[in-house]
Structures are given as C-alpha cells and as structure tokens.
C-alpha cells in the first residue's frame, strides 16, 4: 500500500473517472435539463451545481485514496482532478459541433455548448470559467477531507442544507406560507419569503444566511448532541417513558395537521406514499417474513382496484357491457379485499413448490398476464379493456344524516393513513405470533421448518393471502382516489417499486417500510419535474444502495447480523490468492 507517498496514478484514475461522469451527465442531458432551475437565483443553476457537486465528491474521494492529511497535497490533488475532469468536458464541448455529434447524441446540442461556455461567442474563452470553477470545487472537496472531523461534518451539513432546500424551494415556500396560514397570519409570510428566496431558488442573502445557520446548528449538535443524549439516558425510567409518550403525542398531532401544513401538492404525494407503504407492509409479509420472492404483487393491487371499480362505478356501461352496480365505497371494500385474498390463494397454490428466482419469475409472469388480460378485448365486456373504468365512487363518511365525501387528497390522506397504520399494526402483531414465527422458520430453512411440525402449505398460503389482502386494500383505495382506472396503471413497475422500497428500507423491518416508502416513492414524487430522469436516478439509487448498504436504511436485527457476519467470515477469494 502506498499510503505515504503521493500516488499520481491513482489521482489520475479518479480524475479520468470524474471527467467520464461529467461527459456522461452532459450527454444524458442532465446538464442541459435544469438550466432554468436555479438553486441560488440568477447565480447558480441546478445543472451547473451538478458539475460542482461531481467535482467536489471526486476531489474528496481522491484525497481519501491518498489518505494523507497535508494541506498542500490535498490542494495539488484537487487542482489536478479539477483541470483533468473539466478539460475532458471542454473537449466534448469543442468537438460536439464540428463532428456533428447531435446526429447520434441528442443532447450534444448548441444548448449544451452555450450553457457550458456561459453564452460566450468565443468557445475557448467561454470554457475558462467552467475549468476554474470546477477546479475550485474539487480543491474544496479535497481540502474538506483534510479538515478536522468536526469541521468537515459542519461544512458538509451546511452545503447539503443549502442545496437541498434550494432545489425544493417552491415546496418549502408553500409549506412556510401554510404554517403562517395555520396561525391565521398569511400575510406575514410574504416579506420573509421574499428576503430569503428569489423568483426561483435562494436569494444570495438567503443562501448565505442558511449556510451560516445550518453550520451553526450542525456545530452545536455535534458539539453538544452527545451530552443531550446522555442526559436523556440518565433520566429515571418513568421520565423516559413520559418523554417517549410526549413525542408520540406530538407526532400524532403533527400527523393530524400535516395535510394543512403541507398543502395540496405535498398531501397528494403523502397519499401516494401511504398507498405504497400499505402495499409495502403486505409484501413485507410475503418477502420479508416468509421469504417468498414475489415480483407479481401488482396483480392483487389490480384485482382490488378493478373489483372496487366494477362494483362502485356509476359509468360502467360506458366502457363495458355491464350495467352499474352502484355500490358505495364501504360495501365494496370488503369484497375487493376478499377477491384479492382469494386470488392470492389461487395463484399461490401452483407455486407452492417453488423457491427463489423461479418463484420470482413465475410471479412476474402472473403480474404481466393480469395486465395484458386487463388490456385485451377479451375481457373488455367485463372490465373495460384499454378504456378502463370511469366514474368510480369516492369514499363517503356518514355524518349526522348527511355524508362527508372524501374528495381531495387533503381528506383522503386520513383514510389512507388509517389503512396503512392498520396494516402496520397487523404486521406488528403477526410478526411475533405463531404464524409469524412459522413464516420466519420457513424463510430460514423449509425442510427444518417442516420437520419442526410446520405445515408448509398452510403457512405459505397464509402469507400469500395476507399479502394479497393488503395489496387489494391499497388497490381499492387507489381506485377510489383516482375515480378512473386504466390497465396501464398496473404495470410491472409497481411491483418493482414496492419490492425495492421494502429492500431499501430493510427486508422484514416495519419502520423500514415507512422509510423505504418515503425515500423511493416520496422523493421521486417531489422531483416530479425531473420526470425524464426519475427512473435513471431510481435505477442508480437501487444499485448504489445494494452495493453500499444491502441491509437497507432501517434493517431488522437478524438481517443486519446476517449480512455483516457474511462480510467478515467469507472474504471473496481473489485470483492472486489461488
């Protein structure tokens, strides 16, 4: 290991990688898509911020590889990295027009050239600021590594806070306005917002103040946080319990007022997150507890949604040959869940003998079959084919003779959250019950479980049925929320999303499902305007997550032990070892 000397080759390698990623970002279109999206109004666009972030991160990594805590070396590394990587991007800019690269790469366009040269007529001159700023950023990254740990944490926290809030500026201002509105003083929000934010993103003053505030906050937390934690730990048991109950009550109160604070758009996102979380709890039973990898989970979601649709639609005759049943939401709900459970068992029977990947592929096949059938003319007379089902009833709550219709997402929020909470409660109670323990025994080893007297058929079918039931419930609510459903809504992506969210959260862990839902469903929804790049980021996130933290954000205890024990006991054999 060359830890002491300055390893030029490794720095160059990292630099080439950084430059490669810059070129990738440019060609994939990330550098041109967010030119109008300012993080700091008229000063820093999100597109350009990506270049800086890339160089910062790679500067940090390059310094880490050299692991030498000297300022001079770090600055040297940063300069090399910055110049090499931005030079690579500059070459792309220079050759894109003469080579007519646009024929093949749609994003190697004049817009890209203009953006990276800051609309300078002279391209070479225009590229200078790019090189300078990129280099400055990578020097900053490399130097950050050399800083003492406390200062490093403070700097990173402040930078992340500025970037994150700047990116989500619109939503943050909405929430601030709503909070003021809640206290009956909507007007007071305006001047404050105007000071901190520009027309898009931070104002320069706002960014500086936020940076300082986040830095101070982070400094205090890192300096005093452990002391506070210790003090709480030293409190007597009863006081600790009171504190916990107090926190719960506070969270509950926040949950009740959340839609009002967040406003329509964010509530909509919350409803979507809650629906996916509800499905996540169901799939968590199948995959997390019972260890049955199901990739066709969307099938039961679709069955629940279509049952709800057929039973409650008032415009059924428009797309199908049936006459409206006209049930209300609550009457149709048990039927929808029941249908999903029934199909969970029916589709479970043929796959009882399968394990692992084969089970995954068969269930994937089931999911696709259901979608294609829903889309086909074959079932059109019953469920509407490609035209779907329209006019599905909204849920109503009887109230002193009249009825409240839950029409907007502000109101639906309560219904979905109650459903998700119910699913969480059921999963929690099931986990340590006899059924839950047999699931886990079966997950670990089917043969041993059978030898211990567990009826595998019953146990598996129970898992499939429970999981399908939750999914059906989610589907029914989904149908009632949208009031019209189409086969295209029930594609493989939903199964994959749900599976990914429980894995990112931590397989088998209940809080993990919520965390996974917020990260994998909530975050992409927040970034709606990134639409083209959502799936790109989603894919990259999944891969990174599996490489870096395969046990998930909030792993169940056993899972964590298993994955980490594996690392230490079985190092991957290398060819050199042989």
């Amino acid at each position: 290991m060359k830890t002491q000397t300055f390893d030029f080759k490794s720095v160059l390698k990292t630099s080439l990688l950084a430059g490669g990623i810059l070129i990738y970002l440019a060609l994939v279109g990330l550098l041109t898509a967010f030119l109008d999206r300012d993080i700091i109004y008229k000063t820093l666009s999100l597109s350009f911020a990506l270049v800086l972030i890339n160089n910062f991160v790679f500067g940090y990594i390059a310094a880490q590889h050299n692991s030498e805590h000297k300022w001079g070396t770090a600055i040297g590394i940063g300069v090399i990295l910055g110049i090499v990587s931005t030079a690579m991007l500059s070459v792309l800019v220079l050759i894109s027009e003469p080579l007519n690269m646009r024929e093949m790469f749609v994003n190697a366009s004049p817009t890209l050239v203009k953006a990276l040269t800051f609309e300078n007529e002279n391209i070479v001159q225009g590229l200078l600021p790019l090189v300078l700023m990129g280099t400055a950023s990578s020097v900053l990254g490399a130097v950050t590594f050399v800083l003492p740990p406390l200062w490093r944490k403070v700097l990173l926290a402040a930078l992340i806070a500025v970037l994150a809030i700047g990116t989500l500026e619109e939503l943050v201002s909405d929430v601030v306005t709503n909070i003021f509105k809640l206290f009956g003083n909507k007007r007071a929000a305006k001047p404050a917002l105007k000071f901190f934010f520009g027309r898009k993103g931070w104002s320069v003053n706002g960014a500086i103040i936020m940076f300082v505030a986040a830095a101070v906050g982070s400094y205090l937390w890192n300096w005093r946080g452990s002391v506070v934690k210790e003090k709480i730990g030293a409190l007597p048991k009863t006081a600790q319990r009171n504190l916990r109950i107090g926190t719960l009550i506070f969270l509950f109160a926040v949950a009740i007022f959340l839609p009002n604070i967040l406003g329509g758009y964010l509530s909509e996102i919350l409803v979507t997150v809650a629906i996916f979380t509800l499905m996540g709890f169901g799939l968590n039973i199948v995959v997390g507890f019972a260890g049955l990898l199901d990739l066709g989970y969307v099938a039961f979601f679709a069955i629940g949604a279509y049952t709800m649709g057929v039973l409650t639609s008032t415009q059924l005759s428009q797309t199908t040959e049936l006459v409206s049943f006209g049930w209300n939401f609550w009457a149709a709900l048990p039927i929808a869940v029941g249908m999903a459970v029934l199909w969970g068992i029916l589709l479970g029977v043929p796959v009882l003998r399968m394990r692992g990947d084969y089970l995954a592929i068969v269930t994937l096949g089931f999911g696709e079959i259901i979608r294609v059938l829903a889309l086909s003319n074959f079932l059109q007379p019953k469920i509407g084919g490609a035209q779907g089902i329209l006019g599905i009833a909204k849920p109503t709550i009887p109230w002193f003779g009249g009825a409240i219709v839950l029409k907007s997402s502000l109101e639906l929020y309560y219904l979905v959250v109650v459903a998700a909470a119910l699913a969480a409660f059921v999963s929690w109670r099931l986990r340590d019950s006899r059924a839950g323990r047999s699931w886990m025994a079966m997950r670990e080893d089917e043969d041993v479980a059978e030898a211990m007297g567990i009826n595998l058929i019953k146990t598996k079918l129970l898992a499939f049925a429970t999981g399908a039931g939750f999914s059906g419930l989610a589907g029914a609510i989904f149908a009632a929320k949208l009031t019209s459903i189409y086969p295209h809504s029930f594609n493989l992506l939903i199964s994959i999303n749900v599976l990914s969210l429980i894995i990112v959260g931590g397989v088998g862990s209940l809080p993990g499902v919520v965390v996974g839902g917020l990260v994998l469903v909530g975050l992409p929804e927040l970034l709606r305007e990134f639409s083209e790049f959502r799936m790109l980021i989603f894919g990259a996130l999944l891969v990174t997550m599996m490489l870096v933290k395969p046990e998930g954000f909030w792993p169940a205890a056993t899972q964590k032990r298993e994955l980490h024990a594996g690392d230490e006991v079985e190092p991957t054999p290398t060819p050199e070892a042989a």
Partner: protein
C-alpha cells in the same frame, strides 16, 4: 401399487394435475374448433376429413380454419425467425445462470444497447449509400458495432454492479440487476432520445427467395440462418476451446475450478461478454426483422428469451436454442390456432399471455425444461 400412489397423492398434487388436464383440454379443444371452423353447414365430421384429405387445391382454404395453408406456413417461418432471435438472447441468460446461478435481469438492456447504437451506424451507411453498394461489408460492420457495444456494457455491468455482490444473499444481486436495468434503459433514452427509430432496409434483403419451392422473405432467411450459425459457433466455443472448458468447469464448481488454476473472475467476465455478444448480434437481427428500435425494446424480448432459456432448461446451451425456436413458433401460431378457436376476440393481443403462460407452466410442471438436467429444488 397404484393404490398406494393414489393414497400418497396430496390435495395440492391433485389440484396441479387438474390444472394440467384443464390446460391441455383447452388447447386441444381450441385447436380443434379453430381448424374445423371451415366445415360446411350440414357436413358430417367424417365427410369433412375425407374432403380435406383428398382435395388439394380449392378445399385447403376451408380446411385450415380461417387461414390458408400458406398463411400457416408463413406463421411458422416467421415464428422460426423470431425464435432464432429469442434463442440468441436466451444464450446470455443461460450462460450466466450456468456460471453464477443468477438471473441477469439487465440482459434485455444489453441487447437493446447494441441494437440501438448500431442503428446510428446502419443509418449513416444507408444515407451515404454504402449499405447498398457494399451490403455485406456494411451489415458486417453494423453487426460488429452492435456486438462490441453490448459486450462493453455487459463487462461494465459485471464489474460495477455484480462482482462486488457475488457472495451476497440472492435477493441482493436480483435487485441490483433490476436497478441496473432501469439505469441502462433511461441512460440510453437520455443519450439517443426517446423516439422510435426505424432501421434502414438494405436493398439486398428486400423480396423473397425460393427455398425448396417455398417463397420466403429474404430477411427472415438471413435472420434465421445467422442466428443458427452464431449458435453453432458458440456451441463450438464452449465445447471445444480451452476457455470454453474453463467456463464449464466454473459452472460445475467455482471453488474446485479455482484450485485447478482457473482464473474464475476472468472466466466470469468472458461468460458475460460471450452472452452479450450474442445479444448484440440478436439486436441487429431484431432491427432487420422488426424494423424498429427504441430504448425500452429490451424488456419484452428479454423476458421472452428468459422464458426460452427456462423452457429449454436453464444452464443448457442447446436447450436455449430449442426453447427459443419452440417459443417463437408457438407464439406466432398460438393465437390464431387455439385462442381464436376458443372464441377470444382479437387474439393477437394475447400473444404475450401465451409466452408468459408457457413460462409459468414450464416452471410449475417441468422446471428442468425440455433438455435440462434435473435441478434440485435448492439449486433453483
């Protein structure tokens, strides 16, 4: 003895047997009704069969259901051509599964990357006239570009996404593969745009050839023959070369192979590369046959090729070929043969259902596939 067997038959087994019987009856009944729908009013079954077996020219149309014998033949030939493509892609699944016991979910995207990149080369050649003046060289270059692109993507994929996870629990690489699959799809969408691109039509491949008196579209002949040639080459590579031997050794037992002095990492990379090169070739053939490429073109053929691999017996190279051809023909003939007979409107829409149903049925009833050795439940 029969008695004892009956007693041991569990409820689940009997249910599965019932399911099997129901499907077979359905397919046979559908075929029967479909084929006999040309029976004239008042004509008895015996008369119908006699008329059809003796009469040759005029009667055939009424004897083959809604379609003429020529149409059925064309269905089968088209099925063989598309089956050849499935088989080529299936080889990638089979090779990787044989070595790593892992479903490379992103293989469909490897296929797409080659086809989509080669489109630009083919298009450039078509524009400057090279494709028509020197068609064989031009198509060769297009094929090479596609194979090289796919190979590069697959090697990167293996190096970045799969290698660090080789000893991880099985769920982890599967999720990684799914993530990589989306990442690749949307990367290529970002690079090349989201529109459908129309593959150029080389003049040399328009029209038909008469083969044994049967006129067949030239494209279909070329696609089928190239697929077969590539598969034979691959089979030779795996069976006869030293590298192929190493591949088989690694598939048999990684640890023992390591002890025998085989560089396992290198062999795994070669396995990925070989599979990807086949997928890249399949990409160009797909472009020639279906004339269209876009960034999500990899998903459905990928799943179908996986079906083909399972159908033939995963991990088994001749199995992938047989499975691919079988699936291709079945998918092309099936909807008109028995689904229309069962009275399903617009049966071609259910083409994919046939493929997926076959996948499900094979996995339920014969997980070892047509040619596969019996895998123990654990291994699967």
């Amino acid at each position: 003895m029969l008695n004892e067997r009956l007693r041991n038959l569990s409820v689940i087994d009997s249910l599965l047997w019932l399911l099997r019987a129901a499907i077979i009856v359905m397919v046979l009944w559908g075929t029967f009704v479909g084929l006999t729908s040309g029976r004239a009013d008042g004509e008895g079954m015996g008369q119908f069969i006699q008329r059809c077996t003796t009469q040759t020219d005029v009667g055939t149309i009424q004897c083959m259901g809604k379609y003429s014998a020529e149409t059925w033949r064309d269905f089968i030939i088209f099925g063989l051509a598309q089956g050849g493509i499935y088989a080529l892609i299936a080889l990638g699944y089979t090779l990787v599964y044989g070595v790593l016991f892992m479903i490379n979910f992103a293989h469909g995207e490897v296929f797409m990357s080659g086809a989509y990149t080669a489109f630009f080369v083919a298009n450039a050649f078509a524009k400057n006239g090279f494709l028509d003046s020197n068609p064989i060289v031009a198509l060769g270059i297009v094929l090479l570009v596609s194979m090289v692109t796919s190979t590069i993507i697959a090697i990167l994929l293996e190096r970045i996404a799969y290698r660090p996870l080789r000893r991880a629990p099985r769920l982890v690489p599967l999720i990684t593969a799914i993530g990589a699959s989306y990442f690749l799809q949307y990367t290529f969408r970002g690079l090349y745009g989201s529109g459908k691109k129309v593959y150029p039509d080389p003049a040399i491949l328009t029209g038909k050839w008469d083969i044994f008196g049967i006129p067949i579209l030239k494209t279909q002949v070329v696609v089928f023959v190239s697929a077969m040639v590539l598969m034979v080459v691959l089979y030779w590579f795996v069976q006869k070369t030293k590298t192929g031997k190493a591949m088989r050794a690694v598939a048999e037992d990684k640890d023992v192979a390591l002890l025998m002095g085989i560089d396992v990492d290198r062999v795994i990379v070669i396995t990925f590369a070989t599979g990807a090169a086949m997928a890249g070739a399949a990409g160009v053939l797909y472009g020639l046959l279906f004339k269209q490429v876009d960034f999500i073109m990899g998903f459905i053929p990928g799943i179908k090729a996986f079906t083909a691999a399972v159908l033939g017996g995963i991990g088994n190279i001749p199995g992938a070929m047989v499975g691919g051809l079988f699936l291709g023909v079945f998918e092309s003939v099936g909807p008109s043969l028995f689904l229309e007979g069962l009275g399903v409107p617009a049966a071609y829409q259910l083409k994919d259902v046939i493929a997926f149903t076959m996948l499900v049925l094979v996995l339920i009833f014969r997980p070892s596939g047509i040619l596969g050795e019996t895998l123990s439940e654990k291994k699967a």
